[in-house]
């Protein structure tokens, strides 16, 4: 009898606990009916900036804003957004989207034409506006730009009497010379680090190499698959020559942060990375603070071009939003000149508005700004518009093809031949859906 009673007592406790959990969960899920929810940034400064800017708008407009946390990894973020949007969910009103996503997600976003002031579009760089226009629909407001940059150690270049490299060949020999010298005191020192892990970042690096040698982005703008070209082969051969010489073998598992970890702790002479690394490398607690310079991504050769990849994040409004008008207002506020300027000064996020690049006081304070401003016109775009909803798969094939070259599983020519075959199979001969 007593055991039955005890059991019953336990059951009651459990039920109580369950009820408690249920109420907590439901109250956490219930969102304010009038509030706008925005997914912008996941961690660090990006999240903090988004929080302060949305709060400022909230105060002005009287509409509460909720921030939705998302995964930090680009691919995972896209997967989550695709799931949400496929379900026509109105959970998130404003999405922060990568420059490569308009082609993938455009049908879920509101056409902003006619919903924003007429001069708004022309205030941003044209290639960004073009990028965000799919089938005539303008689906996202440019927010900030990213491009690949070459970080280097000014002190080491000076120490070995080298000038800033303009081509990959110059970079290779400079990196080798510094590495040889530095290894005497630091056996782990390496010449060059980049993003060699099998993920989107490797696609970015690969396209910077191929386009800098006068090659292409594997899929042409009209959708034609054309990976196996002499210039592309030359580019991959060059990259292959770095592995185990100026770049550590481990670079094949480096994303941005692993590369920065090596460079910022003083372990590398050159690093390819995005603008975000500038402020961190020059922070007070950084061992290389004040010793870092930036250059455009090198040219393939004398006839090549500086062609950093075009990156960046933009704001789109969900078609399924029930508060579209307020959501557009919020996106307009966040992409306004004042907010972009503040984000540049305090967070190092580079503006998409042309007017800010003409501001000489801004230019003077930040060397990255100068390099970036020069690079934007020649930046290479990933083949996301031509391949549309297949971009993920295309990029996956590009990074895997590049990875098998860098890991010495296939020769550049073999790998690019296979890539051509695969891309043609996915697209049924270049006819992307």
């Amino acid at each position: 009898m007593s055991t039955i009673f005890r059991k019953f007592h336990h059951l009651k406790e459990k039920l109580f606990l369950l009820a408690l959990i249920a109420t907590t969960v439901s109250s956490a899920l219930a969102k304010d009916k009038n509030s706008i929810s925005i997914a912008c940034g996941a961690v660090g400064t990006e999240y903090e900036f988004c929080k302060s800017a949305t709060q400022a708008w909230s105060k002005k407009s009287g509409i509460p804003v909720e921030l939705v946390s998302t995964p930090n990894d680009t691919n995972q973020k896209l997967a989550l957004f695709q799931q949400l949007l496929s379900a026509k969910s109105d959970d998130i009103d404003v999405f922060m989207v990568d420059v490569i996503w308009p082609g993938v997600l455009h049908e879920h976003f509101l056409d902003l034409n006619g919903k924003i002031p007429a001069d708004e579009k022309s205030a941003h760089f044209k290639n960004l506006v073009d990028n965000n226009t799919v089938k005539g629909r303008f689906v996202a407001l440019p927010w900030y730009v990213d491009t690949g940059l070459m970080y280097y150690r000014k002190d080491l270049l000076k120490k070995y009497g080298l000038s800033a490299p303009q081509t990959w060949a110059e970079l290779t020999s400079a990196a080798q010379k510094i590495q040889d010298g530095e290894r005497k005191s630091n056996p782990k020192f390496v010449g060059y680090v980049f993003q060699g892990k099998a993920y989107e970042g490797l696609t970015c690096n690969a396209i910077e190499w191929t386009t800098s040698f006068g090659g292409n982005t594997f899929v042409e703008a009209d959708g034609k698959v054309n990976a196996n070209t002499p210039a592309n082969i030359k580019a991959l051969e060059t990259a292959l020559s770095w592995i185990g010489t100026i770049a550590p073998g481990g670079v094949l598992n480096y994303a941005e942060e692993e590369a920065r970890g090596v460079f910022q702790s003083g372990g590398a002479a050159f690093m390819r990375n995005w603008p975000y690394a500038w402020q961190l490398a020059n922070a007070k607690d950084s061992p290389v603070s004040g010793k870092v310079g930036v250059l455009p991504i090198p040219k393939g050769g004398e006839n090549g071009s500086h062609s950093p990849i075009l990156g960046g994040w933009h704001l789109a409004v969900s078609k399924y939003s029930t508060k579209a008008k307020a959501a557009v207002e919020l996106a307009l506020y966040l992409t306004s000149e004042a907010v972009q300027k503040e984000r540049l000064l305090k967070g190092g996020f580079f503006p998409t508005r042309k007017s800010l690049y003409k501001n000489s006081t801004l230019l003077k304070d930040n060397p990255v700004f100068t390099v970036l401003g020069q690079s934007l016109d020649s930046a290479a775009a990933r083949p996301s518009r031509s391949t549309g909803s297949n971009y993920n798969r295309v990029s996956n094939e590009i990074w895997n093809a590049t990875f098998s070259v860098l890991s010495k599983k296939k020769s550049p020519k073999e790998s690019l031949e296979d890539l051509d075959k695969k891309l043609n199979r996915i697209s049924h001969g270049g006819k992307w859906k």
Partner: protein
């Protein structure tokens, strides 16, 4: 007559008690499984617009894809090596912990720590430790003098497979230990006492008494681990991302289903994984000749 009546009533009562769990199982297991089977014969994408029947073509494409077979190979390689190592190590540690010594309960708790850490956390932690330039493992090896230049653990397919197996062994050996320790504790001490009286050596005692009597626990522990290992996803995904050279069946399925939004193709992969594991389980259970189902010989009497 009345006893027969009572029996039916009892049966009915039993079904009544089982009903809630059966319904829940149908909802959370049978229904999604059935839908996956259905999707595998369609060209559905995640948006579920314009779904049409494509017959067996998804399966044909999966089986023709070299990447799928690489991931099958990787999964089998991983399962075989990691489960073998975990079994041997788990058995060894369980035997040690079965002996009585001071601080045994503390040690028993301590060995569970790796198992208690969420896999994603331990995967991230280990991939930092395996980092070639600032990872602690290369640093230690270089200080001791085993290696002169850093090793790129996570870059080479062969080495990263080893690293993944290492982390899995580190993490799941405690699980094996726990199950085997429970098995050891169920062996009556009298058997050992009489073996000692007969003068059997320690090895003979282990071989003739411990191992045969531990077999049921061992078989269960190994199948649990195998089923888990055949579905390995988190460690591989966190440690080596999307590299084709180390991808496993589950990583391949997720890539197609989520990254490529190809629900039909991804479902076909999932169905293949399901079939694969089902066949493996049946063969294993039949091969091991241990009654895992239990109860089939105990009919309801009186």
């Amino acid at each position: 007559m009345s006893s027969h009546h009572a029996l039916t009533a009892r049966r009915r009562q039993a079904y009544l008690f089982l009903a809630p769990s059966l319904i829940i199982l149908l909802l959370v297991a049978a229904w999604p499984l059935a839908r996956t089977f259905w999707f595998s014969f369609t060209d559905a994408t995640l948006s579920l617009d314009n779904v049409s029947w494509v017959g067996l073509s998804n399966f044909k494409n999966v089986l023709q894809d070299g990447d799928w077979w690489t991931s099958v190979y990787n999964t089998l390689y991983f399962t075989l090596i990691s489960v073998s190592l975990e079994t041997v190590l788990g058995l060894g540690i369980a035997l040690l912990l079965h002996k009585s010594f001071a601080g045994r309960s503390l040690l028993r708790t301590a060995v569970m720590v790796p198992w208690a850490i969420p896999t994603v956390v331990s995967a991230k932690m280990w991939s930092w430790m395996f980092h070639d330039l600032y990872g602690v493992i290369n640093d230690l090896l270089m200080k001791v003098g085993f290696i002169s230049a850093p090793i790129a653990w996570m870059a080479d397919a062969q080495l990263s497979r080893m690293a993944i197996i290492f982390v899995d062994v580190w993490k799941t050996t405690p699980f094996m230990t726990l199950l085997l320790l429970a098995g050891l504790q169920s062996i009556p001490t009298q058997v050992y006492q009489s073996a000692a009286v007969d003068g059997a050596s320690a090895f003979r005692t282990f071989w003739k008494i411990t191992l045969p009597l531990l077999k049921p626990a061992l078989v269960v522990a190994v199948i649990f681990r195998c089923l888990d290992a055949l579905r390995i996803f988190d460690l591989v995904y966190v440690m080596t991302s999307n590299s084709r050279e180390t991808s496993t069946m589950s990583v391949y399925a997720r890539e197609n289903m989520i990254d490529f939004q190809d629900l039909g193709y991804g479902s076909a992969v999932s169905v293949l994984i399901f079939g694969f594991i089902a066949i493996f389980t049946v063969v294993y259970v039949m091969g091991s000749r241990v009654n895992l189902v239990g109860g089939s010989s105990e009919k309801v009497s009186n």
